[in-house]
């Protein structure tokens, strides 16, 4: 019962926080769909029982995982920012890192 209660309170707090901040909602929704895409790719492999071509599978999977990680690091910095770091910097870093990730995945798939 205690666990159930704690879980419900956490869930309410989370949704309250996310509903008040559209940017958090953007990030969390994107993360959820990235997980879905990863599951779809994995289901494809399980269905055909083959991961050929392996580098293409890795590319597809890594872009989901990598983007998820970058979104999480952006989300962590959306809260109280550090006094010496401007607020635009986390977003800038996210964009640059995402571009690098996309290039690596497109390069690796071939």
């Amino acid at each position: 019962t205690d666990f159930q209660e704690a879980f419900n309170i956490s869930k309410k707090a989370y949704f309250a926080q996310v509903n008040n901040n559209p940017r958090l909602k953007l990030i969390d929704t994107f993360c959820f769909f990235l997980v879905l895409l990863g599951i779809i790719q994995f289901a494809f492999i399980v269905l055909i029982r083959d991961n050929f071509p392996f580098n293409a599978f890795l590319s597809g999977f890594i872009i989901c995982v990598g983007q998820f990680v970058l979104l999480m690091s952006l989300r962590l910095q959306l809260g109280n920012s550090f006094p010496c770091i401007s607020k635009g910097r986390p977003f800038g870093e996210f964009v640059v890192a995402s571009l690098i990730l996309h290039f690596i995945c497109l390069h690796f798939i071939n």
Binding site: P22, K25, D50, S86, H102, H107
Partner: protein, 262 residues
């Protein structure tokens, strides 16, 4: 000069003097010196002297059966002694290849020693390529080595199994999953719009709007460059395109991000 053959492993055997050997063909077609060898571990030493000012680049002694293309190469020990250089070749019969020994025994041919002394800068008629010695083997050669296959006999058939081409999935299944992924991405965008996550209510105005446009054009431009690279563009062209886009793009993006942070 003073070409002679000695047998350092057998004390009783005296050395054989061959004398001067030159590149000119032999008169009366005299056969090379023949040596009978009854010890399978005999060491035969061929020594001679050459004028130090005329040392050749190539200095090999070929030992084997030239008619069967079975020859081994021996390099000399060279010692400079004033105006002359002393060359010494040591041929250890125990180290001769079993293929060579077995072929010599089978065909009853003598093993020939051919001397090559040559330089690419010398005139062809000055280069030496002459048979100087024949070795008649007078001992039993072990033919029981089953790992040795006759050089000119039929070889065992080579079987190579190539890897099968990996199987490709049927097009309808692949297209089905592509459709699922497309619908997933579409539903993501619809969710963003419906849940008011993407409200576009903080659109900048004035010059900040231009910087935002520049920022968006930069990131879309980079994605286009990457896709063109994927489709086959040269990496160098990709790098140059990135540079041309990156320079102004960086300027606009940093200005936008500064206003974004504020």
């Amino acid at each position: 000069q003073d070409v002679h053959v000695s047998f350092p492993s057998t004390k009783r055997k005296t050395s054989i003097m061959i004398g001067r050997v030159g590149p000119e063909p032999e008169k009366d077609d005299i056969a090379s010196t023949s040596v009978k060898v009854d010890n399978p571990n005999e060491v035969i030493q061929v020594s001679f002297a050459i004028d130090s000012s005329d040392k050749p680049f190539q200095n090999f002694l070929l030992v084997g059966l030239p008619s069967s293309n079975l020859e081994m190469t021996f390099e000399p020990e060279i010692r400079d002694n004033g105006k002359l250089s002393m060359y010494k070749y040591k041929v250890d019969l125990g180290t001769l290849d079993s293929a060579l020994l077995q072929q010599a025994s089978k065909s009853s041919e003598s093993i020939k020693a051919t001397l090559i002394l040559a330089s690419s800068t010398a005139k062809p008629k000055d280069n030496l390529f002459k048979e100087i010695l024949q070795l008649d083997l007078d001992f039993d050669i072990d033919h029981t080595d089953s790992s040795f296959v006759d050089k000119f006999s039929v070889k065992p058939e080579i079987h190579h199994v190539f890897h099968a081409e990996p199987k490709r999935v049927a097009r309808p299944i692949a297209l089905l999953f592509v459709a699922i992924i497309f619908l997933t991405v579409l539903s993501l965008i619809v969710t963003w719009l419906n849940s008011c996550a993407a409200t576009f209510d903080s659109f900048p105005s004035g010059t900040n709007a231009l910087y935002l446009l520049g920022f968006v054009v930069t990131i879309v431009g980079f994605e286009v460059i990457f896709v063109r690279y994927y489709l086959g563009t040269n990496i160098f062209e990709t790098l140059f395109s990135s540079l041309y886009l990156g320079a102004p793009g960086l300027l606009a993006s940093t200005k936008f991000l500064r206003s974004f942070g504020q």
